[in-house]
Symmetry: C3
Subunit: 480 residues, 3 copies
């Protein structure tokens, strides 16, 4: 009976996610401790700005931890729980139903063993709420009640949490026509620590295959005070809205299409296809070609306004037709697909890749591209950065693989830094802490390999956490 004696207090050990023992643990611990308390910089995320603006109080623990977090709801769905039982898409979800949903999480807690969702949740319970009791079927009810009481107090409003989390910078994800008034309001509050930046997410405006595309074009035009129904007008509207976002603190435009094709069309063809699309009679193939051109244009506009361009392609969106019909988008029915960057991005990189003032960050859920495609591209192009593992692969295991897959070929200076990419506010400090531990463990492995000195190791972890995200996402400029 060794294990139980040695590491009984394991789950909240200060050494979690660090090497098991010995020299690797001592080195990793020193590295981790040197960055443990640094402020959080989060250049891409999904917290609705309304939460900050209203200083939202979460209705109950389920409203905080389950309903808005498709990481959690999808695992429960995979256990046979209906999304509606978890509050997804339910406008009139009662307190009793919310409590039942939380009990359901407790009941299926063993399904989360080994997942990061469990890690974040336990970490949040302990560090944000001071609950040390082990979560599970027997304790879920008591923990719900304890949390519920706390959530009613001022210390646990959205702004109070964000202040407590020591966040310097947080980003929302926004529609290009948004007036960003709520961002202005939040950032005007002197008692609120983080700067809340909007992010320019024009995906739907670049998809001429959508039935509602002409209406979207009109809305874009209205927001930019220009007739966007021609290619020139559309482009000028995009230029204005990007500038508007930048003026309100945005640092990036974010893009997720089925692929990264960005072949430009001839002048004649782009006018022709734009006209057909606006008239609602473009075919699927031409719509894809027009989208490639419009996507390329976003890179072209970035040469003017300096917004960082982030991409995360190759997700089969709304894969499950039933879930989509019942609950709409973004409820867990997305599945990654095989991704391709090299051929697809050639036109864009040949045009803008050598501009060091242009920053292009490639995220992926297909790990096979890290060593084969992304690291070689980042190694060559000054503009190219490799996004940290995110969404499906933001676990300690894949973050570790990422470092081993890309650092040898592109070095630390071509990494994006960590991205939390989440709607689950309490998971933000847990995710960043997880990343700091895994980063420390990887850098410790280089030190223990005798590839770098301890002194360099300390410098590298500091740069990865405190400097690299600000450099890649041009944050210092944005906050001015």
């Amino acid at each position: 009976m060794v294990g139980q004696t040695d590491i009984a207090e394991s789950v909240l050990s200060p050494d979690r996610l660090l090497p098991a023992e010995g020299l690797p643990l001592r080195v990793a611990r020193e590295l981790y401790e040197s960055v443990e308390d640094l402020p959080i910089v989060s250049p891409h995320g999904h917290i609705p700005v309304e939460w900050f603006a209203q200083d939202k109080h979460f209705a109950n623990p389920t409203d905080l931890f389950i309903t808005p977090d498709h990481y959690v709801t999808r695992i429960l769905h995979g256990q046979g729980v209906a999304l509606s039982e978890l509050g997804v898409g339910q406008s009139d979800f009662t307190d009793q139903q919310a409590r039942n949903a939380f009990l359901m999480l407790g009941k299926h807690w063993s399904a989360f063993a080994g997942t990061p969702m469990r890690y974040w949740f336990e970490d949040s319970l302990a560090r944000v709420f001071g609950i040390k009791k082990k979560f599970g079927p027997e304790t879920a009810g008591a923990i719900y009640d304890e949390l519920d009481e706390m959530l009613k107090t001022p210390e646990f409003s959205t702004r109070a949490l964000a202040n407590r989390f020591n966040m310097d910078f947080v980003s929302t994800t926004d529609d290009p026509v948004s007036d960003l008034k709520l961002h202005d309001k939040v950032n005007a509050d002197p008692g609120f620590k983080p700067f809340v930046a909007p992010a320019f997410r024009p995906d739907k405006y670049l998809e001429p295959s959508r039935a509602d595309w002409p209406q979207l074009v009109d809305a874009l035009g209205r927001s930019a005070d220009i007739d966007a129904s021609t290619y020139e007008g559309f482009t000028e509207a995009m230029r204005r809205r990007r500038r508007y976002f930048k003026d309100h603190g945005a640092v990036l435009s974010d893009h997720s299409h089925a692929d990264l094709n960005c072949e430009r069309l001839s002048d004649g063809e782009v006018h022709l296809l734009f006209g057909e699309a606006y008239a609602g009679r473009i075919g699927a193939k031409d719509a894809a070609r027009l989208r490639a051109h419009l996507f390329n244009d976003q890179a072209r506009l970035a040469q003017e306004d300096g917004l960082v361009m982030t991409v995360h392609p190759a997700i089969a969106r709304n894969y499950d037709a039933t879930a989509f019909a019942n609950y709409g988008a973004d409820v867990g029915g997305d599945i990654p697909a095989r991704a391709e960057y090299v051929e697809a991005l050639r036109p864009l990189l040949n045009a803008y890749g050598n501009n060091p003032d242009f920053h292009f960050v490639a995220f992926t859920d297909d790990e096979t591209v890290y060593s084969r495609e992304l690291a070689p591209l980042a190694g060559f192009y000054p503009s190219f950065f490799i996004g940290a593992p995110w969404w499906f692969i933001d676990a300690p295991d894949s973050i570790s693989r990422y470092f081993h897959d890309v650092v040898p070929y592109a070095g630390f200076t071509k990494l994006s830094g960590f991205i939390d990419d989440t709607r689950a506010i309490c998971s933000i400090p847990s995710r960043h802490d997880m990343n700091r531990r895994v980063t420390a463990s990887f850098v410790a492995s280089l030190v223990c390999d005798r590839r770098i000195s301890m002194e360099e190791g300390l410098e590298i972890v500091h740069n990865q956490i405190a400097v690299q995200p600000k450099h890649v996402f041009k944050l210092d400029a944005a906050e001015q």
Copy 2:
């Protein structure tokens, strides 16, 4: 000169495949010991039922360890040994030839260093036959003679071995037209411990491109006592044969085609294409479309009868034309190809993926799909389970990668449990023991990461070995 002193007795060490030393070893050892002696549950395999029915005595050690095992013969072929020298396809293989084949294995033994085939063989020699002598060119002859003598004794017949191996459940793989009388006979023997289940493997009946497909359809119809020459008749024949298999203890249908396409045809088209195929005049492209529909039908029928559906696509079968011409199928000339699950399975998962009573298990030899495709699908769909690494990738290294690739995204409850998938009877306990060691080592890594407690670790390894395979393959129901 450290190593030789410290771990000289290494190959049969009780700690093999566990971490090298220290806390990780102590934790893994405790986890392993807790499941070491559990009975073997083997829901998918290839031991011919005839061996059990006849209580086959192996003619000699080559007949046991080499000729029927394409894992072993392919490596020897890769060393330049002709398959005929190993007894493959030789109906009149003499004892002298068999001895020579075994000497050949000894001669090329260094080619097996680092492979699981070596691990299983050495493990079997020591644990099944009590031979502690090191196998190699100098000892192969003596070991052959020793084994040969033992194989003639009652303790080493097929049934005696299976009883000794502490097997609760073992599956064969069978033709849908089989009458399964041998299964009934074996299972009626009160002195035989394991339940021997048939498995429904209809691949060739679903391939209308085969020249002999009309004859196969007729044979299927005869076995089901119905005219199968129309689509309705064929479907009813399938329904009856699946039910017949289930009534005789089958728990699964097993499918391996070039891809997983399962797009359904319209009623009109399926009748048209079925008719053309039965008349022997269907083209390759239409045959593939009809196969996709018929494969989809197997999932549809599973909604009625509850058979688990297992798939392992994307193998280039009979790749080497010479080997195929000389020896036929299944002699080692199969090579894995790139696999795709997400797009291919969309029709099937949209129709049946949310049915928790439907169990779909996806195996692969293409490791790239684990984190990108299989874990996200298993995370979302209650019906979807991720098959353990098998065939080319059933080694400690890839089993470990599998855990690291899928557990963070889908959790332990969406794994299939271990599958031995073998014709080599003595390797069955060795393979299961290997899996228990690697499972213990992975779970130990979570404990040492302080992600789970030792108590949970013990629960997880127990579930993985004793509970999960029975749940995924509905074994408790089957054995009643």
Copy 3:
């Protein structure tokens, strides 16, 4: 403050790249020390034969370490440094410019942390030049001056370095029309230790889509003293030039096309397409089909002359149009693409794969093919060997992954042995030493897994370093 005390002298530690501590370190150290001083065998490389023939003195440290090494220049380019500043394509690069380039390397040294380029450079400084001072922005100038002085002395000419590096065999890469006189001259020098073999690299002669292909065909014909303007003449010219290379010590032909297609054409078609190509009017699609046939012919000719065939497909060459326009090929603007071996090689392997006298070595920069495609092919075909990780993936991390990905399925005897593949002469001993360390660490992991004994471990590392490359590349025959 643990790390700094414990492993302060880390970067040049005798234990670098070995496990951190304990039993794994002791085992790996013993294995490594047993092969540390073995001579270097390098069957594939890119040192220009002229350097050996002229016994070139490097003009300065930049001429040695930066300008000719696209591994280094690409990382600096990725930091925003123009290739011209590094001397690439500059015929009149002054000493001052060279010194500035070296300072640039110092300035960006942190971008190399964790990369093998840094490892090789620091290893070379210490072991070849005896410089123990840490390289970086502050020391780059002083180190430049120190190196510059040494490079002017006879001890640091190309031949003196090669002699000092204990190289037994080194290969250049050559145009099929080369007269190989320089190789003869170098190999006739009794004071020069390594045998310098040419390698047959016919890529451009097999690409009928090139505008200059008819001229290349004529040049090939002239070098072979035959009219090569017909398919028969071309084939005979190839036969003669391959034989000529072999007679001058070549052991291999080396091939890198966009893919590995090798489907043969009918006699009629090959004559037709060859004629059209020679007349300069072949289309892209037919040119690709003709190339596939001509590539297949190289394998056919290898059956006659016994040259080893090495391939490394699927690189997007000259990806960056600007770099290509300004500096030409091979300056770092190549990016790997997804590779496919199984379907593409079927015609070749079905024809020649079972000939044990034919040696086919498959290299890749796409790691996904190791366990899925290359290991299964090598496991079955006696002719098939899996090339060591090279180019983008020749780092400790990927060499380690390579062993874990292929050894379990194909064993050690189907590996190519290490390939340094470099223009950077000082990196040769560093690269081989790196490989010996990683090989020792992998074999140590098998010993610590109790999968092999220490005695076998020692035999395996010896074979991998001293025996396997000579066997795979038939070096003993070549040197006679």
